[in-house]
């Protein structure tokens, strides 16, 4: 598997892919809001960089944060911080996720197997989580705490439980969401398709009643079948175990 921008992927496909990443990032962040430090923005930022390239590594985190921040503040959270603190902390969180996206772009061009790809993305994501927490804690201290060394030390000393749960979030969501998106990026969206049994008519295959609009099997072009459909020549597997050749 190549963790690089797929040259076969059209711009419109990449945009749809990026929009899906943004959707996952926004919905995950809102749904998990009460579970502080459990979030999906980090994983989508990382995947945008790893799978789509540098432009999307910048666009996906920024748009995800802009939409989700707007929703969160519209819901009334954060009013106690004041506008300066909110903007200041946003500067740190947004740039933190931008950095994660750029870390993702470092994974481009790695030619490895499926499992190794996900392991590499997960490992990078865990390092990115640590860097993100250290960076954003600095912003929290700068905008919400007294500017003393004692305060800075205290804030970092109190970071441990939050970072532990943030690492846990990354360890759960990066393999889960990463596997799905990496698979779709490489193979396209799986479609439920009932392929005809070789040597049987459409009626025998049940196409006539269920799918009257479908052309008969003799008229159907082989290329319209998905790559993993059972082929008359041999066995097939689901899911496909290798990427289709270009």
């Amino acid at each position: 598997m190549k963790l690089m921008r797929d040259p076969r992927m059209k711009t419109i496909d990449r945009m749809a892919f990026a929009l899906t990443l943004i959707l996952v990032g926004v919905v995950g962040r809102i749904l998990l809001f009460k579970y502080a430090n459990f979030e999906t923005v980090l994983v989508v930022s990382l995947l945008a960089g790893a799978l789509l390239g540098r432009v999307y590594a910048l666009v996906v985190p920024i748009v995800t944060m802009a939409i989700s921040d707007a929703l969160i503040y519209l819901l009334g959270f954060g009013g106690q911080f004041g506008i300066v603190a909110i903007l200041g902390i946003s500067l740190f969180t947004w740039t933190g996720f931008l950095f994660v996206g750029l870390m993702g772009t470092r994974l481009k061009g790695k030619v490895i197997t499926v499992t190794k790809s996900i392991a590499l993305i997960t490992g990078t994501g865990l390092i990115a989580t640590l860097i993100y927490d250290i960076w954003t804690t600095l912003g929290f201290w700068y905008f919400l705490r007294p500017h003393t060394l004692e305060s800075l030390t205290h804030v970092y000393a109190m970071l441990a439980p939050f970072t532990v749960y943030h690492l846990m979030s990354s360890l759960m969501f990066i393999p889960l969401i990463g596997t799905i998106f990496t698979y779709v990026h490489e193979n396209g969206i799986p479609q439920l398709n009932i392929a005809p049994i070789a040597g049987k008519s459409d009626e025998e295959n049940g196409f006539t009643e269920a799918c009257p609009a479908l052309p008969s099997s003799s008229q159907r072009h082989p290329s319209s079948l998905p790559a993993w459909s059972p082929s008359p020549g041999g066995p097939s597997s689901w899911p496909p175990t290798s990427s289709p050749s270009p």
């Binding site: 009460k34 579970y35 502080a36 459990f38 009013g79 106690q80 911080f81 004041g82 603190a85 197997t113 499926v114 499992t115 190794k116 996900i118 392991a119 997960t122 919400l144 705490r145 007294p146 004692e150 305060s151 205290h154 109190m158 441990a160 439980p161 532990v164 749960y165 690492l167 846990m168 360890l171 759960m172 393999p175 597997s237 175990t241």
Partner: protein
């Protein structure tokens, strides 16, 4: 299934196990750092003072089983007839106090507690109290 596919499947299984062990380990570590909820026990001679923007409330308890900073605050609120608002943050199972007696966190000021003049470093519902402890809640700029 080819040999290559079998190897890939085995790698995926091993990776899945590593991830599950990692998640479990982090969950245990987080739970260890946060600590267990404080068991109820009777304490004596404790007091609590609330210092708002222009008001103070004092409560003293000869004996009570409300042996955490938050439980003591609840007891004082019940005795004096005012309300407390807070948010429970998962997965920390910790309460963040948003408002006491109608005075909300805001304008850069927050409700923060001290036990025997020492700044509270953990959630108030996790901070256990001993005989004679004096608690103070102050609505102030963060001090640390």
């Amino acid at each position: 299934m080819s040999l290559k596919d079998m190897r890939e499947r085995n790698k995926a299984i091993i990776f899945g196990i590593i991830v599950m062990v990692g998640v479990l380990g982090l969950a245990l570590l987080g739970s260890f750092i946060i600590g267990q909820p404080v068991e109820r026990s009777e304490i004596e001679g404790v007091g609590i003072r609330l210092s708002g923007d222009s008001w103070t409330v004092d409560c003293s308890m000869e004996r009570t089983t409300n042996n955490t900073v938050y439980r003591l605050l609840e007891e004082c609120a019940e005795t004096n007839g005012f309300e407390i608002e807070g948010t429970v943050w998962e997965p920390y199972d910790a309460i963040f106090v948003d408002s006491i007696n109608g005075l909300e966190n805001g304008q850069g000021r927050f409700w923060q507690y001290y036990v025997n003049e020492k700044y509270g470093e953990i959630s108030s519902d996790r901070k256990g109290l001993s005989d004679g402890d004096q608690v103070e809640w102050r609505w102030e700029d963060p001090q640390i």
